[in-house]
Amino acid sequence: MDITKHFINFRKTSQYIYGGENYIEVYKRVEGNFKTTKTFEDKSIFNLGRYDIDEIKRECGDVETGIVLNSGYFIFNIFEFDKIPFKEEMRRDLVNWRLQKVFPEDIELYEHDFFRIDRKKILSVLFKKSLKEKIETVFDEYGMKVIYMGNSTVEIINNIRKWKPVPDFFIEIDKEISIVVFSSKSVPFYIRKFRGNKEADIAREVVKTVNFVKNSYENVPSTYSIINSDSGSAFDAVREELAELNMNEVKVDVKKKVFLPV
């Protein structure tokens, strides 16, 4: 039931392991903000060795931990319905039916969660069960208490809705993987994910996506934010391209890790 969902919240942790694109970062809450305490380069959270997990455990200790994964292995869909059923079962059937039309694989192999984000819209999130079990098995073996496993894009959507002003879209860039989320009144209506590590490629894809949204939806985006876990990159090329489209940037406070649950 939706009502119970509203009243039940999951416990938050004071530290998160971010599973990025070929790197892992450990974030700990220091004076209200999350700060990186350790980075494991060239490591994938889906493929951890004994030495790596030892290192992570040493860094995290026995404290309850959360794992935030980037959107590389997630599949997002936004479905619009005339009317969304109130009953959870009927809602699931409806979403599954719609998902089967656009998703050729076996849904059973995926952890499928969906959320009503609007009176008519549902955000569906798919993540491979095998990958989830892989992470859980490793962390369970080492006795690490992982009480949260979520997605960076979902958390950005959650955090960005509190901003003033809320950007019309944001670009989440994590090395090779980029995801663009367009929203209207903080409700997402279009999500696109693409790969590309060169700034020019990312800029081209972003412009292409913006033009697509302009042509396909009634909403004309005019503001954006760039969120990247890799603070070293400037993404000037993306900014230049968007400036040509008369887009204004809503700057993100780099101290606030918006891809982590707050």
């Binding site: 969902k5 919240n9 959360g66 984000i117 609007d118 009480i147 959650n158 903080s186």
Partner: protein, 184 residues
């Protein structure tokens, strides 16, 4: 938009502090509503009781007024009756006072032909009552002349006799004089 609570961890734990806080808030609100409800009910009951008391008071007042009204009506009727009698008596007095005896006698005298005399007359002081006249005539044609003269006053011959050439008749007429102002 509501927060998207996405957590696929199999070890996810409910934030009990927040949950119990919600429960506490719900409980407090429930108790508050219950309290307000009871208070409202009791105040409504009190108001109802007061209204009933007021209603009873009004009913008593109404009964008292009704009773008084009946008594007043009775008194008014008695006074009315008394005054009506007085008025009727006054009217009869006025009628008696205004009864035109002389006028009637004048009419009778004018209608009597020569050789005919009134032997007896009786009447009531009432404009509408009949007048009984006993007349004597020296001849029957004279008596007949009397009948003829009184014909317009609806005469009725009560008795008629003749003795030694004297004709006696008892006539009843209804002589109503027109009032002077009516003439005008």
């Amino acid at each position: 938009m509501m927060k998207i609570k996405y957590n696929i961890s199999k070890h996810k734990r409910i934030d009990l502090v927040q949950f119990f806080l919600y429960c506490f808030v719900v409980l407090v609100l429930s108790v508050l509503f219950l309290f307000i409800g009871i208070k409202n009910l009791s105040s409504k009951e009190k108001k109802l009781r007061e209204a009933k008391e007021q209603q009873e008071l009004y009913r008593t007042k109404l009964n008292y007024i009704s009773k008084n009204t009946r008594e007043y009506h009775r008194e008014i009727n008695a006074i009315n009756k008394k005054w009506r009698n007085k008025v009727r008596f006054s009217n009869s007095l006025i009628a008696a006072k205004t009864y035109d005896i002389i006028g009637k006698l004048n009419v009778l005298e004018e209608l009597l032909p020569s050789g005919v005399y009134i032997q007896g007359i009786s009447f009531k002081v009432d404009a509408k009552s009949d007048i009984d006249i006993t007349v004597v005539a020296d001849s029957y044609p004279n008596l007949f002349h009397v009948y003829k003269n009184f014909s317009k006053y609806d005469p009725s011959i009560v008795s008629e006799s003749e003795s030694d050439g004297i004709f006696t008749a008892h006539i009843r007429i209804n002589l109503e004089l027109k009032k002077k102002n009516e003439k005008k």
